[in-house]
Symmetry: C2
Subunit: 145 residues, 2 copies
DNA sequence: GCTTTTCCCTTAACATGTTAATGATTGCGA
DNA sequence: TCGCAATCATTAACATGTTAAGGGAAAAGC
């Protein structure tokens, strides 16, 4: 029972896990009807926002590791939510784009998604919500903004 | 490109994922030498702090889903890091305890673990660190403190 | 006491996280 | 142009996350 170890009840990693769980719960509820996962939702969001992207950029923006994205893309292609094409100039590169079916999932859930986000803003209050995003950003080593 | 959707760059779920990634990176580096995972480390931490626990309480304190804990416990039993015994009164219950080998991993890494935590406190500053923990706690639906 | 319900835990099935290795392609330098 | 390093992506292997179903034991109701 070493006194060097900080209590697990005030552990930053565990607090992050639990907060994420709390935030994702209503989003997962929303998505359970659509048959896609939280990660597939993020992929659609990024593609809808930025247009077609190469897989490296897409993985970065959706906060997915590349091997995960490879599998997720295979699944989503099978569902007809995205298309994947080789770059003719650099044949190593793959480009991924959202399909109308994929965009439909975004459109169908945009309202509820916005409502969920607004709920959390209200729970924390506008100021604390922004403070939280800033503090979290300072823990992110790859923060590019 | 629906204007209803908040930008993914200020998305709370993604910010939580990235912050967690930033926090866990040095911890994973530390653990890579020991051959155990981040989750196994959490199990050892909780057992070392609280003593033997039934699996439900252990899963809750380590923020693991029960099915995950079942598998993790099997692995850790195989490594000799924990023991698992049936409660003689209520034969449904399993009790898990840390072994000397498991405690040795805690002891061997206590200093470095404390250093990593101290680094993050320094990066954010004492006040912001506490603020962050409080804000995260308000997103946790099962906050029992 | 016997059924039914509830509880604790495990198993199963599928998706993702994580690290290392492999493929395929391009670019560069001798 | 040959060889070799660097780049982009996938595959492989193992561990965990997530949800649903199953199995055994205790508790509750009649």
């Amino acid at each position: 029972m070493s006194s060097k170890m900080p209590s697990t009840s005030r552990s930053l990693p565990i607090a992050l896990i639990r907060a994420r769980e709390g935030v994702m719960a209503p989003i997962r509820d929303m998505l359970s009807d659509t048959g896609i996962t939280e990660q597939q939702w993020r992929v659609l969001r990024v593609l809808s926002e930025h247009g077609p992207l190469d897989t490296t950029t897409l993985a970065d923006r959706a906060s997915l590791l590349h091997p995960s994205l490879t599998r997720i893309a295979t699944t989503m292609r099978g569902k007809g939510l995205i298309t994947q094409t080789r770059d003719k100039v650099d044949r190593r590169r793959q480009f991924i784009a959202i399909t109308p079916d994929g965009q439909k999932i975004i459109d169908d859930n945009a309202d509820q998604s916005a409502r969920i986000v607004a709920d959390f803003r209200r729970i924390l209050g506008e100021d604390d919500f922004e403070t939280l995003l800033d503090l979290l950003g300072r823990l992110d080593p790859g923060a590019q903004d």
